[in-house]
């Protein structure tokens, strides 16, 4: 027997999505548009892309670019954030620069990225790195700053050296906040890759969208690409959220809705 929570968890979102598709289909039908595709045409467009064998290749390229830029941001951002959070002087020195650079959209860096890296894989990689780096470094820094003094005191009391204290107390205590930053950064990376692919490269889901429009105004393929981007973005977020359920970090997410 379905419980109330089953209804809310499955039936409500699925029903709402189905309703949205229905409204979409009706809107296309009754507006007699020749440009905007119906859900069915989008589905056929997806099938066409699959038939041509480019879809897997495009998705793969986009994911690979995200993985590269994101991994770089993680490898540099977490130690940098830990260092900034741990040394107040470092934070004083760098925080203004970080806070100034952070609101600049990675896309604004596009001309410079192309200037520096040319039309290459490195250009979107750089933009993704920029987009992911700031939320990671800021969350790691704030995570360290908000470690309760009591934990540090306890760690010192048991005779931990500073490197041990960082590894065994500061990092695990900051980890929940770092994971939140990592999840936000992943979402941003996925947004940035699509935009970057519209300009700097000739493959990937962003390229699919801009190419479908430029070469024949195939709006069915444009919308198909958009839907794919949304679905993959959702999947990435679900993966990132799974890490927040791990038992060693779950304490940091108490009181948040599941």
């Amino acid at each position: 027997m379905p419980t109330r929570s089953d209804v809310e968890r499955v039936l409500l979102p699925v029903g709402t999505a189905a309703l949205a598709v229905l409204v979409w289909a009706l809107a296309v039908r009754f507006s007699h548009t020749n440009v905007f595709p119906s859900p069915l045409r989008v589905l056929l467009g997806l099938k066409e892309l699959l038939g041509k064998g480019v879809l897997g290749h495009y998705v793969g390229d986009s994911l690979r670019r995200v993985a590269t830029g994101y991994f770089l941001a993680l490898v540099i951002g977490i130690p940098a954030g830990l260092a900034l959070g741990w040394h107040p002087a470092l934070a004083s020195a760098f925080n203004p620069v970080i806070q100034m650079a952070r609101p600049i959209s990675p896309l604004a860096w596009m001309p410079l990225a192309i200037l520096w890296f040319g039309v290459s894989e490195a250009a979107p990689g750089f933009l993704i790195f920029l987009g992911a780096f700031f939320p990671i470094v800021v969350s790691a820094m704030n995570g360290v700053k908000s470690v309760p003094a009591m934990y540090l005191q306890a760690g010192r009391n048991f005779g931990l050296s500073t490197p041990r204290l960082l590894a065994r107390v500061v990092f695990p205590a900051a980890l929940p906040q770092i994971l939140v930053g990592l999840r936000i950064a992943l979402g941003i990376a996925w947004i940035v890759v699509v935009a970057a692919e519209m300009i700097a490269v000739d493959s990937g889901l962003g390229y699919l969208i801009i190419d479908s429009r430029n070469a024949g105004k195939r709006y069915d393929l444009v919308v198909a690409g958009m839907l794919l981007i949304g679905v993959i973005g959702l999947a990435l977020d679900m993966v990132a959220r799974r890490f927040e359920k791990l038992r060693t970090v779950r304490w940091g997410f108490q009181g948040e809705s599941a």
Partner: protein, 254 residues
């Protein structure tokens, strides 16, 4: 110098001033106190009187403005695993299991010895069966036992307890007091225990150090001349309780 019994902890003329916005706040004024090896001393005083500050100085986490603290004749210059500070229940590490918390200070031991220690102290504080539980799955009293186990596991000579049962409900608090006394019989440690609870001090301590309001001085040191287990309805218990109440009450009137 003629010292009849060598003191484990010796507080000598300790004063503490905090600098806030230019105006210094005097928190402790020339505190002198000697604690014998194996003694259980309660530091009793009204909230905000500076008794936690004193304990933090003893633990090596704060440096006194003047005066010094000697432990085993050596001046305290910083925290030391031979003297463990126990906080309220929030001091346990939430990212570690019960076992992980007890093992926290045992990183210098060989694996077999470490496993024995963990098993021993988990059992001693009555957390057997919860080895793999995380602190958020434990009750407040269990978290407090866990913190005591983590402290005892490194075999310190001195325990500093800073209102350790303050966040617990009154029934759990009573249980925890008798648990602490039971553990103390098993593991003879010198204990300095800060509390604002008069009953708690009479139930637990060999001696109660009564502090005044800020700037804190020692008003009086009261010997609790009752053997354990203590009868909470004995006339002597009530006498001592009233005596301490009087001291604290007078402190409030100043």
């Amino acid at each position: 110098m003629t010292a009849p019994a060598p003191s484990k902890v010796s507080v000598q003329g300790v004063s503490m001033r905090f600098q806030t916005d230019g105006s210094p706040i005097e928190v402790l004024t020339s505190i002198d106190l000697d604690v014998a090896d194996g003694e259980f001393v309660c530091i009793l005083g009204p909230s905000g009187c500076g008794k936690s500050t004193l304990l933090n100085i003893l633990g090596g986490f704060l440096k006194a403005t003047s005066g010094q603290v000697l432990i085993d004749g050596q001046p305290v210059t910083g925290p030391d695993p031979r003297r463990i500070f126990v906080f309220q229940e929030r001091g346990v590490f939430p990212w570690l299991t019960v076992e992980g918390n007890v093992a926290f200070g045992l990183f210098r031991l060989r694996p077999t010895e470490k496993a024995e220690r963990i098993a021993h102290y988990v059992k001693l504080v009555g957390l057997s069966g919860f080895e793999n539980a995380y602190p958020q799955e434990l009750s407040g009293g269990m978290k407090q036992r866990l913190e005591v186990a983590r402290a005892l596991a490194v075999n310190p000579d001195v325990l500093f307890l800073d209102e350790p049962f303050g966040a617990l409900d009154s029934i759990t608090r009573l249980v925890m007091r008798s648990e602490l006394l039971r553990i103390r019989r098993a593991e003879k440690k010198t204990i300095l225990f800060v509390t604002h609870d008069i009953d708690e001090s009479v139930q637990l301590a060999d001696r109660v150090v009564v502090m005044s309001t800020r700037p804190a001085t020692i008003r009086r040191i009261v010997d609790i001349d009752m053997t354990h287990p203590r009868d909470l309805s004995a006339p002597r218990y009530n006498e001592l309780r009233d005596l301490l109440l009087g001291e604290i009450g007078l402190a409030h009137k100043i």
